[in-house]
């Protein structure tokens, strides 16, 4: 049984105006199916507006799809009873793109990281503090950062706090919604490295949503390509991405900047 199973998910956003009662709807996801096993990372590539983030929300249980189902460990996350859903939430976490908007500006790092623990574990204050410090150290921060507020951190540090919050409950799957896209190159590499380490240590699975081909290639085991709400390609091995002849994939590949302008016409770089 795979960890995550997405079956024929279709979703559209509708708008209704004052004089247009029927409204019009825009299809953002159509007939998407894939599965994700334990301990693997599926990179989902796509241009802006391809439906990547909506797919992320659907998987996280934040946006109920109009058609199709999302099975997590065999349970449909939208029809499961409250208790099952609460248990699924525990194993399903997220790291967002914008690290600043993903944390409450009026909470200290300690409270941010402790939030999921408070909801699921019955811990004393000292135990909680010890675990939060361990988590901070695990993501490369220190005990001194415990009582700092979000505005006192840099974007990279704050993203580490988001990661600490996501791994606090030792989940099985983390949805990384453009998690490194708003960081500079150095921090991107460091965060990707951290994510890879965590994946090995905890046996995590990632659903890595990105438009950054290099980042996706670095961390993913499998790759998918989303275009206008359709899953156009799904590769079991990420290297297939560089040999695919699909026009969308070719276009994406061509957009990768070569290290030197002289190599700009080089298309396959596997």
């Amino acid at each position: 049984m795979s960890l995550l199973q997405v079956n024929e998910v279709t979703h559209s956003y509708g708008t209704r105006a004052l004089f247009n009662w029927k409204g019009h709807s825009q299809k953002v996801l159509s007939n998407i199916s894939f599965s994700l096993g334990e301990g693997t990372c599926l990179g989902m590539l796509g241009t802006s507006g391809a439906g990547k983030s909506t797919l992320g929300k659907v998987i996280l249980g934040l946006e109920r799809p109009q058609l199709g189902q999302v099975l997590f460990q065999g349970h449909d996350i939208y029809t499961a009873d409250k208790q099952t859903r609460q248990n699924i939430r525990r194993d399903l976490q997220v790291v967002f793109q914008d690290s600043y908007s993903a944390v409450n500006p009026r909470m200290s790092a300690r409270r941010i990281i402790a939030e999921p623990l408070e909801n699921y574990e019955k811990l004393t204050i000292t135990e909680m503090k010890r675990i939060v410090i361990e988590l901070l150290e695990r993501v490369g921060l220190s005990e001194g950062d415990l009582n700092k507020y979000p505005h006192q951190f840099s974007g990279g540090q704050l993203q580490r706090i988001n990661i600490a919050r996501a791994i606090a409950l030792k989940p099985k799957l983390i949805v990384l919604d453009e998690s490194v896209s708003s960081l500079d190159m150095v921090n991107q590499t460091l965060i990707l490295e951290l994510l890879r380490e965590l994946k090995e240590d905890f046996g995590l699975s990632y659903f890595f949503i990105t438009h950054d081909i290099k980042a996706a290639y670095t961390i993913s085991d499998k790759l998918g390509v989303l275009e206008k709400g359709k899953l156009v390609e799904l590769y079991d091995s990420k290297n297939q991405f560089f040999t695919s002849e699909h026009p969308v994939v070719k276009e994406m590949r061509d957009s990768i900047l070569a290290e030197h302008p002289r190599f700009r016409s080089v298309r396959t770089r596997a």
Partner: protein, 277 residues
Amino acid sequence: MMTSISKILKSQKVILMCSIILGTLFIISIFAPWIVPNDPIAVNLAYKLQSPSWDFPLGTDHLGRCNLSRIIYGSRISLGFAMLIFISSLLIGLIIGTFSGYKGGWIDHILMRFCDGVMAFPSLILILGLVGIFGPGLPQVILALMLVQWVYYARMFRGMVLSLKEQNFIAAAKISGSSQWKIIKNHIVPNVLPPLVIMGTLEMGWAIMDISAMSFLGLGVQPPASEWGAMIHEGKSYIRTNPELMLYPGLMIMVVVVTFNLLGEALSERFGIKRRF
């Protein structure tokens, strides 16, 4: 010209000065029984309409009651009940606005159309109408003011909650397994309350004006209790011979309202808060 005014408004001095004035007034009104030189409601016709003296620092009114004592006691009603109206309408507005904004859907539609309906009337007319229904008296005026004021707070809270609930940290809290109640308590209320408390300072001035206006019309505080608006009402018969009877309470209302407004403006300028409904 405009920039210099806003610069002055933003300055810490204005905030400090207003706080000192209001703080002093609050302390005086709390300790009124120990400060007043005379009993504010003791009638003594032998001393009526006297000029200022050692016994009566601001003179006496037409029933021989000490003006200063009455003004000090009046601040208790004006400040105290303005505060009560402010806090209670803020709380009602907070509960309904947050609920409406967070839940959305038809509940939101019904509640907000109700608010729109209330806001469509000039608030003073509506308060007058409500007091007309409830009958004159201070508790009725307070109730009428509360019933009208919360609508504005609810509208503001709802707007802020709407923009806040789209933020990622709310989604992250949901995914962390936090219940709706916990999200509202830990994530929404702490983020919407501080700007509204600052904006509420501006509303305090209006509340004081409204209480005084109602008392002036004879609908609010009933004699012999002293309240600034009621004092103006009683003094207006003596405007030709003893204009100070109206002047003292009038000045007090002006000082307090202006101070509250300045403080509110200064605070919202300083913290970059825009008023919106």
